[in-house]
């Protein structure tokens, strides 16, 4: 099984060719956001205001890194549990968000939104956070620094290892695994 190489911005055709269980190496720009940032992102969206980054084609990574030690690009930066962001994800995907990265199950409305918007949900390796930090080549806080670990960061990643959990056809790797 060879890994699929993807580079941002992601287009719909690439995303539609992905299947659950595919291993992907992602390079390019992704944005970190957790609970507090999502609340603010969706509030901006609802009010028709400008978001800190362009949503069409974008990738959000549910992650709050540990503090950056001196001389490093970033601290350890593995995924957080995605389910806490489920209430926000469909609205963001309706506005063009192409993919989300986290760990753990999504609810049916996110799975349906992935089908409707041709969006994909990837899992990063939960707990393998020092390894993931090695894939981050640049990191910059672009919004809400007062949120600390939860601030929105723009990351440039190289070959970040991901697995497709929810594809554009409504499939779910977690469900398929336990049905096998």
């Amino acid at each position: 099984m060879s890994d699929i190489i993807l580079t941002t911005p992601l287009n719909k055709e690439q995303l539609q060719s992905l299947k659950i269980g595919d291993k992907v190496l992602l390079s390019g720009i992704i944005y970190t956001a957790r609970d507090a940032a999502h609340k603010r992102l969706v509030a901006l969206l609802v009010n028709g205001e400008k978001l800190p980054f362009e949503l069409p084609g974008a990738v959000i990574y549910y992650a709050g890194p540990s503090p950056t030690p001196p001389g490093k690009v970033i601290g350890s930066v593995g995924p957080t549990t995605s389910g806490r962001m489920d209430d926000y994800t469909p609205a963001l995907q309706d506005a063009g968000l192409a993919a989300t990265i986290g760990k753990g199950k999504r609810n049916q409305s996110v799975i349906d939104s992935c089908v409707a918007n041709k969006a994909v949900y990837f899992a990063a390796l939960g707990g393998a956070a020092a390894l993931t930090a090695q894939c981050v080549k640049e990191a910059e806080i672009i919004a809400w620094p007062e949120l600390g670990a939860e601030a929105v960061r723009r990351l440039r990643v190289e070959n970040m290892p991901l697995v497709v959990i929810n594809d554009t056809n409504g499939n779910d790797l977690y469900i398929k695994a336990v049905e096998a």
């Binding site: 099984m1 269980g21 291993k23 507090a36 992650a63 709050g64 890194p65 540990s66 503090p67 950056t68 030690p69 490093k72 601290g75 350890s76 930066v77 593995g78 957080t80 549990t81 389910g83 760990k103 753990g104 199950k105 899992a123 390796l125 939960g126 707990g127 393998a128 956070a129 020092a130 390894l131 930090a133 090695q134 600390g148 670990a149 290892p161 697995v163 790797l173 977690y174 398929k176 695994a177 336990v178 096998a180």
Partner: protein
Amino acid sequence: MSREINVKDITAAITNLAISSNRKLPDDVANALTAARNNESLPLAQTTIDDIIKNQQIAADQKLPLCQDTGMAVVFLEIGQQLQITGGDLTEAINCGVAQGYTDGYLRKSIVSPLKRENTNDNTPAVIHTNIVPGDKLKITFVPKGGGAENMSRLAMLKPSAGIEGIKRFIIDAVREAGPNPCPPIVVGVGIGGNFEYAPLLAKQALLRTIGSKADDEDIAALETELLTAINKLNIGAQGFGGKSTALAVHIATAPCHFATLPVAVNINCHVARHQSVIL
């Protein structure tokens, strides 16, 4: 005769434990992960556990925490009854060590007020459990406990009539419902008996037992093996991607309970099953 220990030494020990326990797994956990890898036949499960193992080396080499979630600080103290703690307040000394360790070690500060969600900014306060034991030593065990796995933990006040079958069902259901969320391969800590607050404490303490060690009671040891086999047939697998490595171990601790009750607690730990002890 009593022995004295200064709180400054306790603060220093906690600082060290906070940093080192977040960077290095206990040997038994690391060995169990390697064994799980060798037991897998599914390619995706193999490469997933390979990356989990690789992460340990990178964390050590780069002096980074294994996981960005460096947890809530849970501290177990076994205080010898002949020991006198001098020079200040013990609780303050522990929290001081936590604040120092999480700052010096570039560990994430994840503790907030429960309603306003305001960060305390130094990862305090710790959750401290003390036990008075014979002797004149102080044993400190430091457990950074991540939120993802803690959220998947459960407590039930079962009816005694539920019996052993009800207990098994509750434990397996807790693991099944948790699925990929607590970062499997997990360690399952179970507390059976005690009461409403004691069962979860037993479950948490059970997480600290060495993986591969047997429970003292033969029936409990057999129950642990049976549950581990059943859990690893759920096919949740490493990270929930499928495979045999849902859990590395099931550890059960028991205590007598009131004859009207049957408390059962399941505390789940992720594959970053951190804990470290020191004796002062």
